[in-house]
Amino acid sequence: MTDADPVGLYRTVRLIRRFEERAVELVHGGQIVGGIHPYLGQEGIAAGVCAALDADDVLAGTHRGHGHVLARGADPARMLAELCGRVTGLNAGRGGSMHAADLSIGVLGANAIVGASGAIITGAVWAHRRRGRDTVGVSFFGDGAVNEGMLLEAFNLAALWRVPVLFVCENNGYATTMPVAGAVAGSIAGRAAAFGIPAVQVDGQDPETVRVAARAAVDRMRAGGGPELIEARTYRFDVHHTFEHAVRLDDYRPPDEVIRGRARDPVRIQGERLTDTDRAAVDVEVEATVDAAVRFALSSPEPDPADALTYLYASGLTARTGGG
């Protein structure tokens, strides 16, 4: 059992918030190339869900995946080093923002292909349980993924074989710029219902609400239940991708909607549950952690180009080089 831990939950959302803000600065400064999909505004979901997990559990995330990796407990310094393409990164600089993974803590990776995590996690959980573990899994995805056939097939497979996977839909209202109303026939929860998967909608801006819902689902799954779905309503505070900071797109989100959305801030909501002293202490601690992460990342060596394809084959097979 993971019990309520308001300070711990606040520490996680605050860490993700400050990590992402600093990462955006590093994108602007050119230290992170290729940009990122900031998790700003959605921190409460990763924090709440991961607070309900045990050591043997596994998760897979999305292109907007930093929050999931950090909430699960990955080292922020190695995470940031990965974003900066350094050899000390979680993936030795081979994955970057969209593929950050830490298999040692059950993070099978952020994944850049929308809707891909569901079937992978279903297989991983099934395999762990076959080997005698009590593993449950989490598949994070956005509202855009609910129209991907691969994910709907995974719903079917997990329900059919009663594989305990918590499907967490982070509904931030937009698939890049496409509003949910323009893309989703029926409803997200209705997709789960079609496969006999219990589904709840929760306020994704309240980390504690998410945690309680995830805890209840995980407990049911651990007691022998099949998959469940949580649709966490949330709002992305910043851009879909940092390229929007440089190339201004038409206002696809109405300005008043953005103001209303940002007003429900998971970091503030959770922070208000702490005493001023506790909150200030966490803020100082998080700042030191993120400062250290930035220093670590920027002082770490870049990988040697001679090793560009070092990890291509787990079997040790070597590929021909491309030169003449």
């Binding site: 395999a127 691969m150 995974a154 070092t310 291509l312």
Partner: protein, 322 residues
């Protein structure tokens, strides 16, 4: 010496590996009854937990296998139809194949994708008759196309034990080949096999076409001395073995049951001529560019590379070089 069919060699390999290693399991469509006639009897022997029938959800069960592999198992997926590989190309290439590099070496994804009955099955028409092995060689997924029962057994065993994804094409044209086999053993990846030695020209033949090449070599034996090289693995390719052969014969013809443009034959020829100065321009006998196999049997045959075309190519390359 016991006679063994290619099909039963595959069954034997699956059974031996399921028995040898608890981490191995089989999944696919209709594998419990053995609709492909390859997985016959395995569900009875190993149980329906390890020989799993799936719903018709190729993308999900392909990635399910990736997840299971990440968690330490060794899944084998059977695809009844070669063109299903088009449907799951994304799951194999973008996920299973890329995870080791993208995670910086944190994982391995030992999944075997077995395609019994690849290529034309005569009468199965446009959507069931492809031979997309060059696609997997192109992206760097280990790709094997055994020609004989012994190699079918040995390469499937090796594929299952291999720590990276492997696609095993078992051509429809080879499934009923029978051989005297007394010693079944794993066959290493990336090692070709010379089925017939010759002096004048090296014919590289892929999969079931090895048997056609041997027949043509025999037919032409009083005119040309043909060496028949079976690469067995298309990726990684035994370029050293083939170079050694072509360096002796000086001539090269490739017989490849797949579309011409950007096909395996083109890659084989390019790799050889980078290393060897030939006596005559190399030739390839393939399906036409962009071929879609038509239904009517005569049309189906017309699009596949045939023995007459191979004999012609051999004669032309002999003439060019003299």
């Amino acid at each position: 010496m016991p006679r063994l069919s290619y099909r039963r060699a595959l069954t034997r390999a699956l059974g031996d590996e399921l028995a040898r290693d608890e981490a191995v399991f089989l999944l696919g469509e209709d594998v419990q009854v053995g609709a492909s006639l390859v997985t016959t009897g395995l569900a009875k022997r190993f149980g329906t937990e390890r020989v799993r029938d799936t719903p018709l959800s190729e993308q999900a069960f392909t990635s399910f296998a990736t997840g299971a592999a990440l968690a330490g198992l060794r899944p084998v997926i059977e695809f009844q139809i070669p063109s299903l590989l088009f449907l799951v190309f994304e799951q194999i290439v973008n996920h299973a194949h890329k995870f080791p590099l993208m995670t910086g070496g944190q994982c391995r994804v030992p999944v075997t994708y077995l395609v019994p009955g690849s290529g034309s099955r005569t009468g199965w028409a446009g959507q069931h008759s492809d031979h997309p092995y060059s696609l997997f060689a192109h992206v760097g997924v280990v790709t094997v196309v055994p020609a004989t029962p012994a190699d079918a057994y040995g390469l499937l065993v090796t594929a299952i034990r291999h720590d990276d994804p492997v696609v095993v094409f078992a051509p429809a044209g080879a499934m009923d080949v029978r051989d005297d086999v007394d010693d079944l053993a794993p066959v290493p990846l990336g090692r070709g096999r010379i089925h017939r030695f010759g002096d004048d020209v090296t014919v590289v033949a892929i999969g079931h076409l090895v048997h056609d090449a041997l027949a043509v070599a025999e037919e032409l034996a009083d005119q040309v001395s043909v060496e028949v090289f079976d690469p067995r693995t298309l990726y990684p390719f035994d370029i050293d073995g083939l170079t050694e052969s072509v360096a002796r014969t000086g001539r090269l013809v490739v017989l490849d049951d797949a579309n011409r443009s950007c096909g395996m034959a083109a890659e084989i020829i390019a790799s050889v001529v980078e290393r060897v100065r030939l006596l005559a321009p190399p030739r390839r006998v393939t399906r036409p560019d962009g071929a879609v196999l038509p239904f009517a049997p005569a049309l189906d045959r017309a699009v596949q590379p045939g023995r007459d075309q191979l004999a012609t190519a051999i004669h032309l390359t002999m003439k060019d070089g003299s």
